[in-house]
Amino acid sequence: MSRGGGWGGRAWMVGVYTFLYVPILCLIVFSFTAGEITTRLDGLSLRWYAALARDAELHAAVLLSLRVGALAATAAVVVGTAAAVILVRAGPYPGSRFFVGMMSAPMVMPEVVVGLSLVLLFTHPTLAALGGRGVTAIWVAHTTLCAAYVAVLVASRLREMDRALEEAALDLGCPPLKVFFVITVPVIAPALAAGWLLAFTLSMDDFVLAAMLSDPGSTTLPVLVFARLHHGLKPEINALATVIVVVVSVAVLLVNRLLLAPPRTAGRSAARAS
């Protein structure tokens, strides 16, 4: 039996990959048009990249998105890791099942609902202290959403970590809190890094939450792009897409090399007798 699964299977794979990549390739090809139409090559030029380089509004949006992304990812790693520790390590306690549900709900809850609920929170008359809509609100929304993803990632790493590592550190005289920082954190570091990157990407990519929670001073990149898609299409957006695809591809390749290359797996827990 051939492992490849025959020609039919391979053709199917090629078909799906084509479906996934043709739209992206089209975006890239037409970013080099010299004309104004986004779906026709009227000569080759880099004029839309030049336009991109001059677009101050876009630059501001990119910077804001990067800032919100980094802040939200960092906060999400903190909240999500704490949640993962509780999910994996705390035995059953009153409310533990509720906690599991509460931590995973943001991943499946439709974004419009999460967005609407947070708008209601941030505009509530008695909660004016939260500062209303704006960058902080977007940061909170992204942190909440991403913390759920980070919790899942970190929890699965914690589950496969050999508990004996922490016990050994304790046994060798290391106080409990220090054990977490000198043993647990380094061992689960790949999951923390992966969680941060995932959170950063989710935040950079989110439109619905950012749009509902933005005020005039807080236009993130997706909010800006969405507005432009509604106000007539220009090949400048293709150029932007090309830049993003290149940056993301390089980043993914680098992360794969750096994070996955040295397979320093923690000692798997041998089934403990008695």
Binding site: D162, A164, L165, E167, A168, A169, L170, D171, L172, G173, C174, P175, P176, I183, P186, V187, A189, R264, T265, A266, G267, R268, S269, A270, R272, A273, S274
Partner: protein, 383 residues
């Protein structure tokens, strides 16, 4: 002559001072007691093995001594000091884990130094480095100081783990299934190396194992655990020759067990064709009419050729004898294991040295034989 470790519970330390005293120690998980009512004294510089099958509570007992589990009842005294109030990271005990638990993000030297770095007031860097070098030298791993744990073989990891747990000069070394993660091939050699090293360092050691051979090779004394309770404590020889219950008898080495009732100095009603003569131990006389078991080690069974139809009567007073038939033979070179079938259908095993047959041909499968043993070789067990 049996039942010397009667009661089985507290193993007293002969002559030497008591180092660790465990009193009525118990641990409950939910509704079940993983460890119940364990009392044990362990002497200075003793190597003590807790032996039992998986789930018997031996690891839980060890983890309670290390402070990784909190006892539900009882107490532990180390040199007279109650350990209850001492959290794991302040106990003068160190443990070698079954998985070795080497920190994957630290080098070999980093692993060994880890415990030393926790000492307050802080040790000087050079002092730590010197101690690490000394420890790695002790386990012959000095050349590997800068390697990562995952680059080492199982045996090397085990030695690093040992060096790490000895570095802080623990007053009590705890080994949790020290060799279970190793290949069977290197396990035997490592047993001798490990115990030699422990004796050289002179540390008191408690090891947990499910492997009776490991326990007998390495330990001065063995404590047999079953269902959370200590059933017998003694030297390997004491336990092998004078088991105090069926569990000990069958857990340490192989044995033939015959179940019957006591009538005078005979065990009757067993599956052995005749009443079995036995010699009662020094203690109280066995209760007449009571239930009992006779344990007979395979090497105590004598096997002789016999012509078919031969009557098998004891040749001497106090001897037990019966006809049997060879069911299977396992040839092991210096000896053979005979699986014999008694007239009632019950089988028994005998270990026969190769030299036993002399010039004569050993009996083959299906051939009739005569089995016998002198009464003192059997051990009468009341539970």
């Amino acid at each position: 002559m049996n039942d010397r470790g009667a009661g089985g519970a507290r193993g007293g330390v002969g002559g030497e001072s008591v180092h660790l005293r465990i009193e009525r120690l118990g641990k409950r998980f939910g509704d079940t007691w993983a460890v119940r009512d364990v009392a044990l004294d362990i002497g200075e510089r003793e190597v003590f093995a807790l032996l039992g099958s998986s789930g018997c509570g031996k690891s839980t007992l060890l983890r309670m001594i290390a402070g990784l589990e909190t006892p539900s009842s009882g107490r532990m005294l180390l040199d007279g000091e109650d350990l209850a109030a001492v959290p794991a990271h302040r106990r003068p005990t160190n443990m070698m884990f079954q998985s070795y638990a080497l920190f994957p993000h630290m080098t070999v030297a980093g692993n060994v130094a880890f415990g030393l770095r926790q000492i307050r007031p802080r040790m000087r860097r050079e002092a730590i480095a010197a101690r690490v070098a000394e420890m790695l030298e002790l386990v012959q791993m000095r050349a590997y100081a800068q390697r990562w744990p995952q680059e080492l073989s199982g045996g090397q990891q085990q030695r690093v783990a040992l060096a790490r747990s000895l570095a802080r000069e623990p007053r009590l070394l705890l080994l949790d299934e020290p060799l279970a993660a190793l290949d069977k091939r290197i396990r035997q050699q490592t047993q001798f190396e490990l115990v030699g090293l422990i004796r050289r360092v002179g540390v008191t050691c408690i090891l947990v194992t499910h492997d009776q051979e490991e326990a007998m090779t390495m330990a001065d004394r063995i404590g047999i655990l079953s269902e959370g309770g200590l059933v017998q404590v003694g030297t390997p020889g004491e336990i092998y020759e004078h088991p105090n219950c069926r569990f000990s008898a069958s857990f340490i080495g192989e044995t033939n067990l015959f179940h019957g009732r006591i009538e005078g100095d005979r065990l009757v009603g067993s599956e052995f064709p005749q009443p079995i003569a036995f010699v009662a131990g020094a203690g109280a006389a066995p209760p007449q009419g009571g239930e009992a078991w006779l344990s007979l080690r395979p090497e105590c069974v004598r096997v002789h050729q016999r012509a078919a139809g031969d009557a098998c009567v004891p040749e001497r007073p106090g001897e037990n004898a019966a006809p049997a038939e060879v069911a299977e033979i396992a040839y092991l070179g210096n000896r053979s294991i005979y699986h014999l079938r008694l007239p009632g259908g019950r089988s028994m095993i005998a270990s026969v040295p190769a030299a036993h047959w002399g010039e004569a041909a050993p009996p083959a499968r299906g051939e009739p034989v005569r089995v016998s043993w002198p009464a003192p070789d059997g051990v009468l067990l009341l539970r």
